[in-house]
Structure formats: structure tokens, C-alpha cells
Amino acid sequence: MMFAGDTLVQAAALGPAAAGVVWLLLSPWPVARRIGGGLLALAAHVAAWAVLWRLYSGEAVSWRGLEPDLLRASIVAFAQIGILLAATRAERLPSAGAAGAMIALGVATSAMTYGAYATGLVTLALLVPVTTLAAAAAGLTGSGRRDLGGIAGLAAADVLVVAGLSMVLARTGSTVLGPAGGHDLGTWVLLLGAAAKAGAIPGIGTWRLAATGGPGAPVAAVIRGQGIALLVVAGPGIAGVEGSVPVAAGAALLAFACGAAGLRAARASGALSAVTGVGACIPFLALGLGGAVGFRAFLTAAPAFLLAAGAAFAVAWAQDPPLAEPSRPPRGGRWLGAATLAVAGASLVGLPPGGGFPGTWLALDLAAVRAEVDPWTLALAGLTVLGLLAAALAAVPLLRAVRPKRLPAALAALVAGALLYMGAAPVRLGIGWFIRIERAGAVPELLPASGAPGLPGVPGGQLLTALVPAAAIVLLVVLLGRGLRGSGTDGFAPLIVRREPRGLLRRAAELRAEAERLFLGVGLAMLLEIGVIFGLVRLVLLGAHQGFL
């Protein structure tokens, strides 16, 4: 072995912050900062995959209080791909904004990775607010107050996560994260915070942060990863895979709300947040439905969500007219961006053959099978699919609005290719990974005679067979026309054109603008973070009684 396990863990956890610092130090020299910061970031990412590989091979990898399991190491590795894609966009922001975004991305990624690898509940809690503070700091280097959107919501999510972890500590009496059997108020509060961080709650937290055009927005990629890592902690990590009706119902309602919010989106950024938000709800729904099948659906959906959210952000972020980058990319770049966004969007809303399709299909199929006994689960599936389709249709105008740069588009296209492969052959790709994680998580064995749905829903070969006649017909039309024409249309056209607010709505809009002008959101976020610090002090003291120090 070239590197010891502890070296790899250190590199994966601390490397991103080091990369951010190096980028900042070299920031006056564009080529040097890209080479120096980029190489360090890539090295840290390779280390994260090496940690995953060691765990996959059955080796134990640890350093001090960090001893990741295979699932959390995998979440970190997939989330870091999305973060690297976000970095390619952050790097091109105006100088002060780029510096703020890149250092915030590095520090937040290290905090996210460190927290996900941690075995201690108190260590995890201490790192939770770091991502929010990093996003706020990055937002402050931007040009407007709107760049700080979502910070108050993220601070509220921090409060929920710390409160949830405190309740878990009080219930279990142990500072070591481990199965405590079943959901309780603590895990529900923790999951609500995780949902806000994953971007699944419309208009709050990561949803709003990612919809801003400022330097804080790329940090949303890190916070989404943190949200999914917290979902793993609260779900299989603490509560096991028993499932929970409130969690499943909450996820279905949130998916529906995300779709509805997508319909009301007046700008490209709103539609992007909606389609990403609805994708974030699927892992929550899968774990809420629970059992061996629900857990398998989660394992299939979560990595695809992280990759698709990253790819969609890389090509479709900041495409609203006042925020768009000034130069027009060549036509090829636009089409590559649109194709990438189409695949990433299809993955997020679970349409075939995107990477999110197998997980979404399995979760919905599980709900439909359960409906044979509990018909209300059909209502959950119904709400979810309504949200999925609404978000998909609301995102249609995004496809013609994308104008990405070549590098982010090319890298995101590679991820889109991977998503298509994940959608077509999920079992071939992940069977070893599924089995290892399920064994470690003590997931109950499923007898084939039980009639539960299983992967693959449709084998990749059959998906490919369906592609051939469709492609043949489209190719025939293209050949008859002897080529393709340019689009001719541009920009985002909202599905519902909203009228100017009147009466109370107008007053509310004015109040909101006034609150933004006075930085009330940031003030509220500060107050909430002070609450988080008090909560953390209390948690450390509680933990000290259990031997944390």
C-alpha cells in the first residue's frame, strides 16, 4: 500500500481546506492558482475515493475520532464530485467573489467530510454550523444583499440538527453514533434539519442559497452533501432501516411542494432549485418507507442525486438575465449544456434512463406494493409523482436558457454520461456495494417469495432496445431535413407569468425588500447561530459526562 489509511483519511478531510487556502494565496496569478489549488483539490478527492476503496475491500480505515463506514465514505466521495463541479463555476466569479467562494468551498468541504467520517456525535455536531458560516462569509464577498439569501434558513437548520443530536444523546446516553433502534422526536428533528440542508424545503435554506447568483451559491453543493450525510446518520445510522410513516409522508409532501414551487418559479434559478429539491426528497421518501427495499432504493437514489445536482448546478446556475455571464459561449457548448441538463434533470425527477430512475422507481414501486395492504401509501406515491412531473415541466424552459462555459459543460457532461450508465445498469454497477453496506447495516434479508420489488426494474439491454427505434425515427427526420437548425429562442420563459403584486401581497414584498436592505436575515441567522453555540456548549458538557473529553 502506497499510503496508510490514516494518511488517506487526513488527506480527504483536510485536503479541501488546504486547496482553498492555496487557491487564495495564489489568487493574483490565475494559471498558478488553478494548477496549485486544482491539484490539491483533486488529490483530496482521490483520497476520498481511496478511503472508499479501502473500506470496500474490507480494510478498516481510521484516524483519531474519524472511522468512516462504507456508506458515509461513499456519500462524501459522490458529494465531492458535485463540489468540484461547483468549483469550476465559482472560480470564474469576479475576483473578490471568487476568492470568497473558493475558500468557503474548501473549508466547508473539509467540515462536511470530517463530520461525515466522525464516529462521535459531539464531533459531528460541532462541525454542523461551519458550512452555514462558510456560505455566509462567501455571500458577504458578493455584490448585493440578495447574495445572502437562505442563510437564516440554514442557521435554523443548524439549530434543528444540534437539537436533534442533543435529544439522541439524551436518549441513548452515548456519544458514539450507533443504532439506537427506531425513530423518535430527536431523529425527526434531525431529519427536518437535514431536509433543509439537502435543499428539499421550498424557499428555505439551501433552496434559496442555490437560487442566488452570488459567491455563496456554490457552497450549496457542500451543504447538500452534508444534508444527505445527516440523513444517513439520522436514518440507518441511528434509527436503523425500520422506516417511519411521518418521514415518508413528510418527504411526499415536500416533493409535492417542490413541484408546486417550480410552477411558480419566475426565474431560471427558481426552476433549478425546484428540480433539485424534488430530487432531494426521493432519498428521504425511500428511507421513510423503510425495510430492505426502501434502504436499497435509498442506496440507489442518493449517489445519483448528488451527482445530478452537481451537474445541473454546473451548467444551469446563474442563468437569469441580470446574473448571466456576459460572453456568449459557442453553440456547441450550449447544446452540450442543454443535453447535460436534460440528463441531470431527468435523473433528479426519476425519469428513465437517468441515474435517479432506478431509485425513484424502486421507492414508488415499494409504495405501490404497500398500497395492497395500506392504501394510504398510494396517496404518498401520488403526491410524489405529482411533484416530480410538475418540477420536470417547470424545468423545461431551463433547457433553452443554459449558456455554460466549455469546461464546466464538458465536466458535467462526463457526469451525465455516468448518470446514464447508473440508470441503465444499477445492479451491475452497485451490487457489491449494496451488499456490503446492507450487511454492515444489519438490513433484514428478503425472501424472493415475499413478492417485494427488486432491481433492476427494466434491464439495461431492454432500455437500450427501446432507444433504437425512437432514435431511428428522430434520425430519419434529421436526415430528411439534411441537418439541424439553430434554436432561435433564448432565455427562461416562466410557466406562470405572475402579475405585479397588489394590496397585502405588495406590502409583503416591500417588507421583504426592506428586511433584505437592513440585513435582517443575516441578523436572524447570527442570533440563531448564537443559539447553536449555546446548544453545542451544552452538548459538549453532556458529552463530557459520557466520556467525550
Binding site: D365, L389, L399, V458, A470, V477, G481, L484, G488
Partner: protein, 290 residues
Amino acid sequence: MAIFLALLLTLVLGALADVATGGVRRLFRTPGPWWRGVARAWSDARLLVRDRDRASVLEAAGAGAALVGATLAAAAAAGLLPSSAAFLYLALALAATGGHVAASTSPVEAGEGRAARARFLAILAEPAFVLALGVAFLRWRASDLEAIRGAHEVLGPGYRVGPGMAAAGLVLAALALVAAGALRQAPEPGEEAGSEGGPALLVTLCRWSLAGATALTAAALLAGRGLGPAAADWPLRAEAAPLLGLAAAGAVVAGLARAGLFALPERRRWLAAPATLVLALAALILVAAA
């Protein structure tokens, strides 16, 4: 070959729906022949070849996605692919979304407005579509078409299997499914200059494939003895006749629903969505009460 045939079937059924729409509109003295839907597709193809009225990449990709979705749904309905409720829905959702993507980059401004209104109507019709599909599966307490086919094999076609209220509920659900499916389609091409040729042809193919796949799905839920890989090879065998007959009837119902939509003034067309929802709710009540 069987999957290719499934796609062709959806296109033929969709064309039949367009003919039904034209026929009803002709009855109500709307100008133009009853075969105008099919004739328009032919003239668009001619313009594509003669004047090189080409499609854009987005239109081609959207149409490709729509056709893949329709193929998957039709093949699942015919028993050529695994056919759970979730898979059927997601495939039909891909067919609908792909069609709207293809229609979203119309070269003329009026086309963009039509596309946005069609997307909005599709979203309004979605609750009825989801409910109708759910009720049809709930009727058999199954989540898979395979199980429903088995029930049909033993008990006979679904519309004949009692109790009467459940059978009526199933028929109503199938009707609501097809009618709501007709409202989810991409818009018809306009008459103004510029909205013809390749783009219009692709959007028409999307509409046909979605209408056909929805009709086949409804037929499979009503009398779903699937074609099966052997029966689906050309020439089709006699055992496929009931399914195809019901699918053709479904396509005609979709055409009628579309004609009903056009009979409404432009600003009142959203009313069609709650009407289909009422139909689906009635189906739910009948199935639940039985």
C-alpha cells in the same frame, strides 16, 4: 422487432386519435377536413424535405425522449417489458415531458405561448391522470400489470368481472386515464407561417406516441392479456385482437377528449382538467365502495 412494433402501434393509435378529433370538429362545422391531423403531418414532412424546415437539437432530443418513453410504456402495457405501476407512470411521464421539451423551442412567438399553455394544462390534468392510474391498479389490489394479466387470464376481461360497481369503476378509471392523457399532450402545431416542417412533425410524433401509449395502457388495465413476445411479432396473432381493439377505442376516446377541449374557449380550457378529475374521483368511489 416486438419493441419496434410497440412504437409503431402507438403512432398508429395516436394518428387514429387525431382523426377522431378531426371528425368531431368537422361535425361541429370547424373548417378543415376530418383527416387534417394526418394530412398536416404529411405536409410537414413534405416541407421538411422540400424547404429544409429543419428541427433544432432540443426538438430532436425532446422528441427522442418522448418516443423512448412511449415505447417503454407501450412495451410494458403489451407485456414485453416488466410492467409495475411505477414503471408505467415514469415511462408515460417521460413521454409527456419529452413532448413538451420538443414543443418549447418553437420558432414563432405564438408557438411559445401555445407550448406554455399546454404545459400548464398538462400539470392541471396530472392529478386526474395519477388518480385514474392508481384506481385502475387499486381495483385489482395489485401494483403490477403482470398480476392483472393473470387475473384477466383466469377471470376474463376486467370490465366483465364483478361486482358491477367495481367493473364500472374500472371502466371509468380507464376513460379518465385516456381523457387526462389527452390533456397532457404537447400542443398541435399552429397555422401561422414558421410553425411548420420538421419541428411540427416531431411534435406531432410526440403527441401521437403519447396518445397511443396511454390508450394501450388503459386497454391493458381493462383486458390486459398481453401480446407477449411471440404474439407481438409481425403478423400479429389473433389473441392480440381484444387488446388492440380496446386500445383503438381508447385512442378514439382520447381524440374525442381533445375535440372537447378545442370546443372550449381558449381561456376556459383549464376546466377540462377538473372535469377529468371528477371522472377519476367517481371511479375511485365506485372501486372503493365495491
